[in-house]
Amino acid sequence: MELDDLYQQIILDHNKRRVGYGLQPGGFPSHQYNPTCGDELTLTVRLSEDGSTIAAFEWEGKGCSISQASASLMASEATGMSIIEFESFANGFRDAMRSRGTISLSEDEYGDLAALSGVSKFVARVKCAMLAWVAAEDSLILTRESLN
């Protein structure tokens, strides 16, 4: 396992760029906490007016470069997706992260997020990569419950 497999330049860049950083009031934020390292992240999914697509991911948090980059990359790659698209996108991401290096994210489908493929070889870091995604799924559930 090479360190550069984990820390690709895209990840180091997004750790600093943090696309989507900054929470606005309102909506249905989900707060996620990783007790093993103390990392925290709060994320709100904003839907389009008709409720069918994701208009924005807003998030704030503190954590390692993997957790921060994963949130930033999700915001840059998944904004504009329909909710159904995003759910399958997130499932595919989770499967890859949990694959212990056997599933790579395709660049065609996942764009710059493919840079996170290496994380799956570092079992201790999978939770870091998943933090923002768990928050997004949770925020979507909270949003939907409010519509019912």
Partner: protein
């Protein structure tokens, strides 16, 4: 200066097979002894040999194997007790120091429910004193006890440099103080606390004094009596021994008075359907089949530690610790926590690297073969007090060398550049 010659150091290292492992293509530099120390071969070999040839029921059965196992188990307790300056009946085996503290807290909860014995009871408004520098294991059992009894936690402050003074403890003692629970050495700060003075103050107010000695046992001479406490707890796996076993030491008086918590076989004299009588300590706190092989392995570990010399180990770790502290302190944009001056330290240093999260620091160090601890080290409140969420920690053992320190400092110096911070 370390008291070990290069030859002695090489001989010590040869006793710890994990040190010949490679990590990420580099020879392992193990700097996580404060979490779990490596084990000497002689202890593991003896434990395995014992398990293969002498496993049998302790304290029961008339056959030869059972008698041999019983004798070996009693001998193990006696030699572990001797290592820490205790008498065998004062040393209760537990799973680890965490369980030891829980046993005390649970005994107090049970006593409080029935109103006796008085020394172990708490009433609403009574106070439990801990320091700001406690490990979760010496905080959460007391929180639960407080929640159940209506008692209140009072926290003795540390200085910004991480020092806990006896005066700081004194400032939170009142006539309602019933427990004073402090660590001898914080697992984050590495500063040696003035335990004797704190214990004297605590006992003068009539409180039970509990000392967490996890970070000092086997890294310096632990003579439990000299703390002047009622209870001292420690874990084998931080003393080069096996996991799964630790100890609760108590004065003879306090153990005699302390109510039983866990019950069952091995701890009784007479048993009827409606009531039973219990053996004296330590047996009354050790129901069920004992930790036989662990006790054998722990005792053998301590014989090895004695053969190296516990004072020499302490001197070695302290001298090397100073080099480590100075090396880390000299790196720009790395902030050590616990920088108080004029205090004694063990070979342990925790720090924050500006702009780089500890997980990333640890991952980078691992790629250079260096095993460090990252996170909150089971001390979240302390990290908050220090103004950070988490940190990275290097800790030394008897097998650590100047090369280990040099490699760790060199790798740490490159961390910020790797993450684009320099």
């Amino acid at each position: 200066m370390s008291p070990f010659t290069p030859e002695q150091s090489a001989a010590i290292r040869a006793e710890f097979p994990e040190l010949s492992e490679t990590v990420s293509g580099h020879p392992l530099v193990y700097l996580d002894t404060a979490a779990t120390s490596l084990r000497p071969r002689v202890s593991v070999d003896l434990e395995a040999e014992f398990a293969l040839r002498h496993t049998a029921a302790v304290y029961r059965g008339a056959h030869s194997l059972a008698a041999e196992a019983t004798e070996a188990y009693d001998d193990a307790r006696a030699s572990i007790a001797a290592f820490v300056g205790a008498r065998p009946h004062q040393l209760v085996f537990t799973s680890n120091a965490t369980e030891s503290i829980n046993l005390i807290a649970l005994a107090m909860r049970l006593a409080s429910a029935v109103g006796s014995p008085a020394r172990f009871t708490l009433a609403a408004g009574d106070e439990i004193v801990v320091s700001e520098a406690e490990h979760h294991a010496n905080l959460i059992p007391w929180q639960e006890l407080a929640r159940q009894t209506g008692a209140v936690i009072r926290v003795a402050p540390i200085t910004d440099g991480g020092e806990l003074t006896a005066d700081a403890v004194k400032s939170v003692l009142t006539s309602r103080t019933r427990v004073v629970a402090v660590t001898a050495v914080s697992n984050v700060l590495g500063i040696v606390n003035p335990v004797r003075a704190i214990a004297d103050l605590g006992r003068a107010t009539g409180a039970l004094v509990v000392v967490d000695a996890c970070q000092s046992a086997a890294h310096g001479r632990l003579d439990v009596e000299t703390y002047g406490a009622d209870f001292v707890v420690f874990s084998a796996h931080k003393m080069y021994g096996p996991t799964g076993i630790g100890a609760l030491w108590g004065t003879s008086d306090v153990l005699a008075e302390m109510p039983v918590v866990l019950t069952g076989g091995s701890m009784i004299t007479r048993v009827d359907y409606d009531s039973s009588d219990y053996l004296p300590a330590p047996a009354k706190f050790e129901p069920g089949t004992p930790r036989l092989t662990q006790a054998i392995g722990w005792a053998e570990t301590l014989r090895y530690v004695d053969s190296v010399g516990v004072d020499a180990i302490a001197e070695h770790e302290e001298a090397l610790g100073k080099e480590l502290f100075a090396g880390v302190a000299a790196i720009p944009n790395v902030r050590i926590v616990g920088t108080a001056e004029g205090v004694r330290r063990v070979g342990l240093v925790s720090f924050a690297v500006e702009g780089v999260h500890p997980h990333d620091v640890g991952q980078y160090l691992d790629s250079r073969g260096i095993a460090a601890r990252v996170g909150h080290h089971c001390a979240q409140p302390l990290h908050k007090r220090l103004g950070i969420d988490s940190s990275t920690r290097f800790s030394l053992g008897m097998y650590s060398t100047v090369d280990d320190v040099a490699l760790a400092v060199a790798a740490l110096s490159d961390v910020r550049k790797y993450f684009g911070e320099d």
